[in-house]
Symmetry: C2
Subunit: 264 residues, 2 copies
């Protein structure tokens, strides 16, 4: 679990921050990060009696991109499912299994949104896929501290063992089966058995920025639709599940194009 980061986005209640930290510690996840936490809540939680080392070491970030910059997989948690079906949705068991595999080679971020709103669409655009705890349709929404406890438990357990593929629900569109990708196509390409390393989000984000700039410069993006285009682009790049080496090459290509565009 040492490659796991739990990222709280916009958490409002200090008791919830404390509860998430406690569940993490119970199951051996020790790295907590917070994006735009309510200042007061964050300070209270960090100074609470018995907050312990985990909370003392917890870091605060101004934006989500910075919080997940060193991660190679970013997974959002949701109670409701894939509202707009832009992301693959996995059940907790299958999701935990994939996360477990990824943690063997790189850092993984698991995101929890605010108590009131969950993760925003912009937050979601930083995610590779979403994971849902299988609560009842009649009462889906969980308490934040309890959701974190269930997710930490399942990650500690290692997810479903021997289960085949994703059992995601209706929202399971665009799920290309990362496992298959990793297991066949990519490993064949790397038949020399070198251990693949996925690109960290910082590298992917740089590609996105350069590409966006290039698209802007080339008139592909109208000024009006820029925010939407940025989100779409971000999601697309994450769907690629790029390896680190590929990301480097791609960034070089895009930068070259951009350089050319800027000289026109």
């Amino acid at each position: 679990m040492k490659n796991l980061c739990v990222v709280l986005v916009g958490t409002r209640n200090p008791l919830n921050v404390g509860a998430v930290a406690r569940a993490m510690s119970n199951f051996g996840a020790m790295e907590l990060r917070a994006v735009r936490p309510y200042e007061k809540a964050w300070r209270e939680a960090k100074s609470a009696v018995g907050a312990g080392e985990l909370l003392a070491r917890a870091k605060e970030f101004a934006d989500l991109a910075a919080a997940v910059a060193d991660c190679s997989l970013v997974v959002g948690t949701t109670a409701v499912g894939n509202r707009e079906m832009k992301h693959p949705l996995r059940g907790l068991e299958d999701g935990a299994r994939l996360i477990g595999k990824r943690m063997a080679t790189g850092r993984v971020a698991v995101l929890f949104g605010s108590e009131k709103w969950g993760l925003s669409n912009e937050d979601l655009s930083y995610c590779h896929w979403l994971m849902r705890i299988p609560t009842r349709v009649e009462h889906r929404s969980m308490n934040l501290g309890q959701a974190a406890a269930v997710v930490m438990y399942e990650l500690g357990r290692g997810g479903s063992k021997g289960s085949k593929g994703s059992k995601g629900g209706k929202g399971d569109k665009g799920d290309k089966g990362e496992e298959g990708l990793v297991g066949s196509v990519r490993l064949k390409a790397n038949a020399s058995a070198r251990r693949q390393e996925f690109a960290e989000m910082e590298a992917v984000e740089r590609i996105g920025e350069a590409l966006l700039e290039a698209l802007r410069k080339s008139g592909y993006i109208a000024a009006r639709g820029e925010a939407t285009a940025e989100e779409k682009l971000r999601r697309m790049l994450r769907r690629f599940s790029m390896e680190a080496a590929d990301a480097e090459v791609l960034l070089g290509m895009v930068r070259k194009i951009l350089w050319k565009l800027e000289r026109e």
Copy 2:
């Protein structure tokens, strides 16, 4: 999950009562019972905004025997393990699987102790076995609401599928493998395929009382050691995992002996 009762023993904090109720509802367990709850906490929790039907219907009991009287299996939860090794201890996955099987034929109670002390030795004497959430040795003790969420999740999931036997830790003494018992010996004896029904705790408790009285009358139990003897007896009777019909016969026997003793 309709055959599941969650029993809170001596809970002190209304927020925890509410959190347990919420996790139950998330995963479809709808029957909550409380034994000796802190009056104020219980009232506050029941009247909380959004407490809902589950809490409104929750019942209060003066003692644990009454709270589990209609259950055929009583399972205690513990963070620490089997302190004095008097009970079989199961991991959550295996425990949840066994509970799932039992819920098909009868009511099962899952007990959570008070925030501060957990379940007392007397409480434990009403349990058939104990179940432990696999938290880290360095930080075993969980928040009550979070522990309930993890247990409800695992019960909803149906426990470990296809796992073999108990993987309990050091405290796994006296674990006779209930599954084996049920699967082979008992089903063979009932080869005519009638569905076995386990005795409800009320029936077992009556046997215990009659037997205790008989032992007292017969001079087996010294006045000094009575409390200990009662606990030992209770544990023993629960280890038998009696069927309902057997319990009836046994009660008849013990009562007959007692009647004889009283006439001497």
